[in-house]
Amino acid sequence: MRECISSRIVFISAGLLTAAPASALACAVCALVGTRNNTWAYQAMSAMLTLLPLAMVGATVWWLTRLAARADTERPSATQHVIDHAPLGGAETYSAVAPGGASLALSEGQVRRARAVDG
């Protein structure tokens, strides 16, 4: 009940401030808000200080993602290697073949553990 009242107060306050934005203007450090020019400067600088870090973080993430994607295409990952599975002499033998041709035998324990995970 108390939480409901608190959230109502927050919503009503936000609604009032949206309807009358001048009440929300409060320069905490210079107390200069009041003139038309200063109101515009205050709003423009608030927008700049809000959007600039978001833009920089977004640009950095995009840049790193692009670099990682480029690195992926230039060098295939281990999971892209070929798996060879062939029953030999009645028993199942598992081996993995790397792109260079080197084969890697899998132990029975490794296969058992994989089966246990895969069901």
Binding site: A41, M45, L49, A71, A78, H81, H85, A114, D118
Partner: protein, 202 residues
């Protein structure tokens, strides 16, 4: 079964051949990019305070004492030197990647032009202080010295980094990551300056 094969391979790859960590971007460059991001916000804060204070100042109150004006023309010349320095550094980067022996000379020329910018700015400061424009003389004077002085401090630090890069390049010990980091810092100094010039001087 295909799923079994892939998961078997994945686990085997981890057990037998641990996947090598790959560096998609040099650590020095990434650190410098993050640092430059914080510095951009630092300058954004200064410019924001300047803009709001200027907009709220009473008519005629936003000026230097005794009718002094900021040196627009000579600072424009300094700005050209700074941009030329940035362009030379870009060329030096291309030469460095191409393993050209001319890279060290181009880098040195970039450092020289950057140092010229700082020295000419210092000369202007001496002239302004001599004419009574100080930190305490007016709000504009205070903002001018704080913002331009902070930029000059960054320029000196970036020039020191470029100097170290040049020294290591000559000695054949310059790593690509260090060069990129120094280059990024100097580009920041070059590119933030037009914003400061347009905002503070006009």
């Amino acid at each position: 079964m295909a799923a079994l094969h892939m998961s078997t391979w994945d686990r085997t790859a981890r057990v037998v051949r641990p996947g090598a960590r790959r560096e998609v971007v040099p650590s020095g460059l990434l650190g410098m990019v993050i640092f430059v991001g914080t510095e951009v916000m630092f300058f954004a804060g200064l410019i924001s305070a300047f803009t709001i204070s200027k907009a709220g100042a009473p008519r005629g109150a936003w000026s230097l004492p005794a009718g002094q004006v900021l040196p627009l023309a000579s600072t424009a010349v300094n700005t050209v030197a700074l941009f030329a320095s940035g362009a030379l550094l870009w060329i030096a980067g291309r030469q460095y990647r191409a393993r050209s022996p001319a890279a060290a000379q181009t880098l040195l020329a970039a450092v020289f032009l950057g140092s010229l910018f700082v020295m000419l700015q210092g000369r202007e400061w001496v002239g302004l202080i001599g004419r009574g424009v100080t930190l305490r003389s007016s709000a504009l004077g205070a903002f001018f010295y704080v913002i331009v002085g902070t930029h000059a401090a960054h320029a000196v630090a970036a020039l020191a980094g470029l100097g170290v890069a040049w020294w290591r390049l000559r000695a054949g010990r310059l790593s690509y990551g260090f060069f990129l980091a120094a280059q990024t810092f100097w580009y920041f100094v070059v590119l933030i300056w037009p914003v400061i010039y347009a905002r503070v001087y006009f």
